[in-house]
């Protein structure tokens, strides 16, 4: 069996990075982001990245780390509202931005990973998103053509993995990670826990190992919460 196991993020990215590359990065907000791999990308100094990610992190964390160091040239995202440095760079013309509706983004990545170059969707018809795109009628309704997305490298975060690269995600930390794992020419996964081969229930695996080329156990997870909301216990 090919060895997919690496000791850490920097080693797992070794030989994969080049200036101007396209990187998909999993997560929704700060939930389920590959914290170790983002830090290693920052330390690598790779520049001119096109980053495909639903969000842009926050100032000083998540993809915000790579915005601070100006390593990202272009973002393809659905929502970037939590990041002031992003706003500054975008308004100053230093950063390109392509907004995709969240479902279109998810489906473009799913399609890319499945070898589907394009698909038609109703989402965005009659809006800025539809400008310049092919329109086509199906059953009397108008749809627009969206294209599949692939990346040079996908970086994803899972909860558990086995040495074959089979992945299990936890709760809403799954989000974009499974599709991105399919759409990277090389997919690097960081996980909280590595378990022996045979100890994951094959019926419960979310991402089969064929989609994962490199794997390591991450460390020092912060797992920051953006909006800590709680309710009061009713007291008797």
């Amino acid at each position: 069996m090919a060895n997919k196991l690496y000791p850490d993020a920097a080693t797992a990215l070794d030989g994969l990075l080049f200036d101007g590359m396209t990187i998909m990065s999993g997560g929704f907000g700060l939930c389920g982001i590959p914290e170790n791999l983002i830090a290693a990308l920052r330390d690598s100094g790779v520049k001119g990245i096109t980053a495909i990610s639903n969000n842009a992190g926050v100032d000083g964390f998540g993809l915000g780390l790579l915005l601070e160091t100006r390593q990202i040239a272009k973002m393809i995202s659905s929502y970037v509202g939590e990041n002031k440095e992003f706003e500054r760079q975008y308004l100053a013309g230093e950063l390109q931005l392509e907004f995709n509706p969240q479902g279109t983004l998810a489906e473009r990545i799913r399609a890319g990973g499945a070898g589907i170059p394009g698909f038609y969707t109703k989402t965005g018809v009659g809006t800025l998103v539809a400008e310049g795109k092919e329109h086509k009628e199906f059953g009397g309704e108008t749809y627009i053509l969206e294209t599949g997305l692939v990346a040079d490298v996908s970086i994803v975060k899972a909860w558990k993995a086995d040495p074959h690269g089979n992945l299990i995600f936890r709760k809403t930390a799954r989000n974009f990670n499974p599709m991105m794992a399919t759409a990277g020419k090389v997919t690097v996964a960081e996980v909280e826990e590595l378990v022996p081969a045979g100890s994951l229930d094959p019926d419960q695996i979310h991402t089969p190992g064929i989609f994962v080329q490199r794997l390591f156990v991450g460390r020092d997870y912060e797992k920051r919460i953006e909006q800590r909301t709680v309710r009061q216990r009713e007291t008797a």
């Binding site: 929704f28 907000g29 700060l30 939930c31 389920g32 639903n54 995202s77 659905s78 929502y79 970037v80 509202g81 939590e82 706003e87 975008y90 308004l91 931005l97 907004f99 509706p101 969240q102 479902g103 279109t104 983004l105 998810a106 489906e107 990545i109 799913r110 969707t121 109703k122 989402t123 965005g124 018809v125 009659g126 809006t127 800025l128 998103v129 909860w159 995600f169 936890r170 709760k171 809403t172 930390a173 799954r174 989000n175 974009f176 990670n177 499974p178 599709m179 979310h206 797992k223 920051r224 919460i225 953006e226 909006q227 800590r228 909301t229 709680v230 309710r231 009061q232 216990r233």
Partner: protein, 211 residues
Amino acid sequence: MMWTRDSQAARAARELQDGFYVNLGIGMPTLVANFIPEGVDVTLQSENGMLGMGPFPFAGEEDADLINAGKQTITELDRTSYFSSADSFAMIRGGHVDLSILGAMEVADNGDIANWMIPGKMVKGMGGAMDLVAGVKKIIVLMEHNAKDSSAKFKRACTLPLTGKGVVDMVISDLAVLARPAKGAPFRLIELAPGVDLDTLRMRTEGHFEA
């Protein structure tokens, strides 16, 4: 007298039907969850990958891996399932979600909605809003009837970049409920907030509606 945000949310909750799968937008629509009528069972969908969203956790029980689309910590229920963003939007775009309640900056009397961008100012992005208005069976907008500069938000035509064309079924503002029986039909006044009369509503509305 006008409806408060809570009264608006409670009025919107009366549109919930037993067995509905519902997606609530960020902000005022989130309040609707507090007013689900007795005996009406609805399942809340969160577009970041969860069906069967529970209430906020008790202090100390927050889980960083368990958030809603507004990035708030939440809890699961005995019916909960988790899935990827692609599966989440298969539910939304595939027409499996019965109702979406969302906010808006403008709604036009042809059902157009604008809620994601103000040109020249920072653009935060549309998130899942364009998918929701395009794919969910029924779209209810919860908004103030007038903007801070008192301009009408229910308009002849939207001036801001659209989120969707001809998609809104019902508007619940702090003054009134306007709705239409089908996409393409004109909006009609369904209900006035207590103390609001038709003349006031007309004065504060730009878009056409049938009284």
